[in-house]
């Protein structure tokens, strides 16, 4: 039984110990096997996993409690927007989770992606570049800006890097805000064209094409990021996160490696930006304020830094809490009067709630909701050795 305990810390014992434990070992075995499969066939498992999720999500919302909130198309539309944040979190995970560079201005690259599509396909500029090549162009543009931001910050680490990136994150939307001749200033650019495919119409009434496009984008990004993580570049990123001087002393070119992290992280944000501009048909500077950077960072941290699936799920969960749960709480307490709670607008307190959630998380589960195995081992090394010595709490019945 001891090897199972290493995989999963024992939950407090149930009454039917024998049966429960059997089930637990079975689950542990299945998890082991799934893990082995997914590490051998990364791309296949990403595609399978995402297709399953993509198929199940629209069905779940047909069930009673969720179906009461809104209709299926509205839900699917919401999932699509959540997907934008999943993409953002996946990209930021490269910079923060894998390379250990704290970036607080990530929304800037999102803005650059969005505005690049707004310039390329809107009545404002009168140009109409199709959506699909612009996905690539937006990503590349954002990557170039990622390098330009990365270059002067190469010597900085930790707090200092955070401050500089924070500044960059503020500068970009303000530039878009103030150069009103080219960007319509605070009004933003509207009427941005949707993607076009021969037989499929992307309209605001039909969420499905958007939803499927989003899933494909996420799948492609996840596959690419997994491959990067498992490559020598991914190892170099982790080495820089662990000890930059030692990495350089082992031949890792820290300059190009860090710039690549910035560039690839930014390009994912650029992708998300192009999609979001097309989906919302509007870009305006206040879509890219600091709170976007912060939200995405919170998603990465809460989801489990460094774990690609964890970050994706974390982003989805937080987006849903932010946009569904809080709203439903408001509606609920509007209908049922509870003295204090009914007077609170929960949406206004979302950052307070983030803050509390982050602090609680750091105290209780510092590895994130869905940690990667390594980080879990790191942070619970003491406990697992304790577990090997014997069960101090007597949780396992004799």
């Amino acid at each position: 039984m001891s090897e199972i305990r290493e995989i999963e810390r024992p939950v407090p014992a149930g009454r039917n110990a024998a049966g429960g434990r059997d089930l637990r070992s079975r689950i542990g075995e299945i998890r082991e096997r799934a893990h082995a499969f997914s590490s051998r066939h990364r791309s296949t498992s990403v595609v399978i996993g995402l297709s399953l999720v993509a198929a199940i999500l629209p069905l779940i919302v047909l069930l009673p409690p969720l179906s009461g909130f809104s209709s299926q198309p509205v839900w699917v539309n919401g999932f699509t927007i959540a997907g934008i944040y999943v993409l953002l979190a996946l990209g930021l995970n490269i910079v923060v989770g894998l390379s250990g560079l704290l970036d607080l201005g990530y929304a800037a690259f999102f803005a650059i992606g969005s505005y690049s599509f707004a310039f390329a396909a809107s009545p404002f500029t009168g140009v109409d570049v199709p959506f699909w090549p612009m996905l690539l162009i937006g990503a590349v543009l954002a990557a170039v800006f990622g390098i330009l931001l990365g270059a002067p910050t190469l010597r900085l680490r930790g707090d200092y890097l955070a401050i500089v990136t924070l500044g960059f994150g503020e500068i970009v939307p303000i530039v878009f805000l103030n150069s009103s001749t080219y960007t319509e200033g605070p009004n933003g650019i509207g009427g941005i064209s949707p993607p076009s495919l021969p037989s499929i119409a992307f309209t605001s009434a039909d969420p499905w094409p958007w939803y499927i496009t989003m899933i494909v984008l996420i799948a492609v990004s996840m596959i690419f990021i997994y491959r990067l993580q498992d490559s020598r570049l991914g190892r170099a990123w982790m080495a820089i996160r662990e000890d930059e001087l030692a990495a350089a002393s082992n031949g890792v070119n820290t300059v190009t490696t860090k710039l690549l992290a910035f560039a690839l992280g930014a390009s994912t944000a650029g992708l998300a930006g192009v999609f979001s501009a097309s989906k919302l048909t509007l870009v305006s500077p206040n879509l890219f304020r600091f709170d976007v950077s912060f939200t995405v960072l919170a998603m990465v941290v809460l989801g489990g830094m460094g774990n690609i699936w964890g970050v994706a799920v974390g982003a989805f969960v937080i987006f849903m809490i932010q946009n569904v749960v809080l709203k439903q709480l408001n509606i609920l307490f509007d209908n049922i009067y509870v003295p204090i709670l009914s007077d609170i607008d929960f949406l206004q307190y979302q950052f307070l709630l983030y803050g509390i959630a982050l602090v609680a998380m750091m105290l209780l589960r510092p590895e994130g909701l869905f940690p990667n195995r390594r980080r879990r081992r790191e942070l619970h090394a003491d406990e697992s050795t304790l577990g090997e010595l014997g069960d101090p709490m007597g949780a396992t019945p004799q």
Binding site: L228, R235, M238, L245, N250, V252, T256
Partner: protein, 346 residues
């Protein structure tokens, strides 16, 4: 996107002709008013084990860091395989001017040709070209491809090698305080050490090419060989931080060997070890020279190790070289005895 410097390897004949792997010429390093290293010369012949000893604060580690490319010397040069590797950076302030030159040239040309009179189109086009050139030069300056490096050298702008350039030239190192990648596995640590041996690039990573797959497979095999060599066989998946102290030192050595260095810089490899571990480590270093043909530059406090293994010893005190010679010569040198034990009473 792996635009690392390629170092021109001397032909074996060249190396054999001189027989000298590394030559440090009058290396000086000042920190403000403090002279940590003053005019130190050092020669490392091919295949030898050279030690640097000296009391604490003698400047051993500073000298080491100069050779490893971590600190630039205030004066002096380091030649490796007959090629200047590290020297005092000169005229580096000229470099940023070079970044703006192409863009400024285009602007000047446009003025001469008369682009502004062509109206909006002319101005816009000039601006776009200038900005494009500026971004290109900046990216080149950041990535530093080899030809850019040569261009700089040609223009008299000397920049000394970065730590990773030093590794590429064929020098590996370990640290006085172990600096492993604590939260990576043993195998991953060695694989990072082999970073420069692997040639797959960003495109390979993204398409997960066959080339990369075979390369990784070979790399893992070689990493396991290296681990076996230092005595860490079968511990691939342990986290580096969970290894006992002595094994961490061994792992650091294996990692440094990953890039197949011709010269190993070992900074107190037996510090904090018990006599038995020390003996093992000494034997290991001797074996590395015999089996892999690496030369070793050693900083060490344990005199049994130093005297037993070194071909020649350099003694530093107060940043200066006070003695150099075979272990026997150094042992009898009165200045060395004085530096270690103090002046004998008159």
């Amino acid at each position: 996107m792996t635009a690392e410097m390629t170092v021109v390897e001397p032909t074996p004949a060249e190396a054999a002709a001189t027989g000298i792997l590394l030559r440090a010429n009058r290396v000086t390093r000042r920190f403000g008013g403090l002279v940590a290293v003053r005019d130190v010369d050092l020669v490392i012949p091919q295949g030898s084990i050279i030690s640097i000893i000296g009391p604490n604060g003698a400047g051993k580690t500073t000298f080491f860091n100069v050779i490893a490319g971590i600190t630039d010397p205030t004066a002096g040069t380091v030649e490796f395989r007959g090629r200047a590797l590290i020297s005092r950076p000169r005229r580096t302030w000229l470099e940023p001017i070079g970044w703006f030159l192409p863009a400024l040239t285009v602007l000047a040309l446009a003025l001469v040709v008369g682009a502004p009179s062509a109206g909006q189109v002319g101005i816009g086009l000039t601006g776009l070209i200038a900005i494009g050139l500026l971004v290109t030069t900046l990216v080149i300056a950041i990535v530093r491809p080899p030809w850019y490096q040569r261009l700089l050298a040609g223009a008299g702008i000397i920049r000394s090698a970065r730590p990773n350039d030093v590794v590429m030239a064929g020098i590996g190192r370990t640290f006085q305080n172990i600096r492993l990648f604590q939260n990576m596995t043993v195998l991953e640590n060695v694989l990072v050490g082999m970073h420069l041996q692997l040639r797959s690039n960003l495109v390979d990573h993204l398409v997960s090419s066959r080339r990369q797959a075979t390369e990784e497979k070979d790399a893992v095999k070689r990493a396991r060989d290296l681990l076996a060599l230092v005595g860490l066989k079968g511990r691939d998946d342990e986290l580096a931080r969970n290894l006992p102290y002595g094994d961490q030192r061994r792992l650091e050595l294996a990692r440094a060997l990953g890039n197949t260095p011709a010269l190993l810089l070992l900074d107190e490899p037996t510090a904090g070890m018990n006599p038995r571990e020390t003996a093992d480590m000494t034997a290991l270093i001797a074996r590395l020279r015999r089996d892999l043909g690496v030369s070793v530059l050693l900083i060490e406090h344990d005199m049994r190790v130093v005297m037993g293994i070194s071909d020649r010893i350099t003694v530093l005190d107060g940043g200066e070289r006070i003695a150099e010679g075979t272990p026997e010569e150094v042992r009898r040198n009165p200045r060395v005895i004085e530096a270690y034990l103090g002046k004998p009473p008159e």
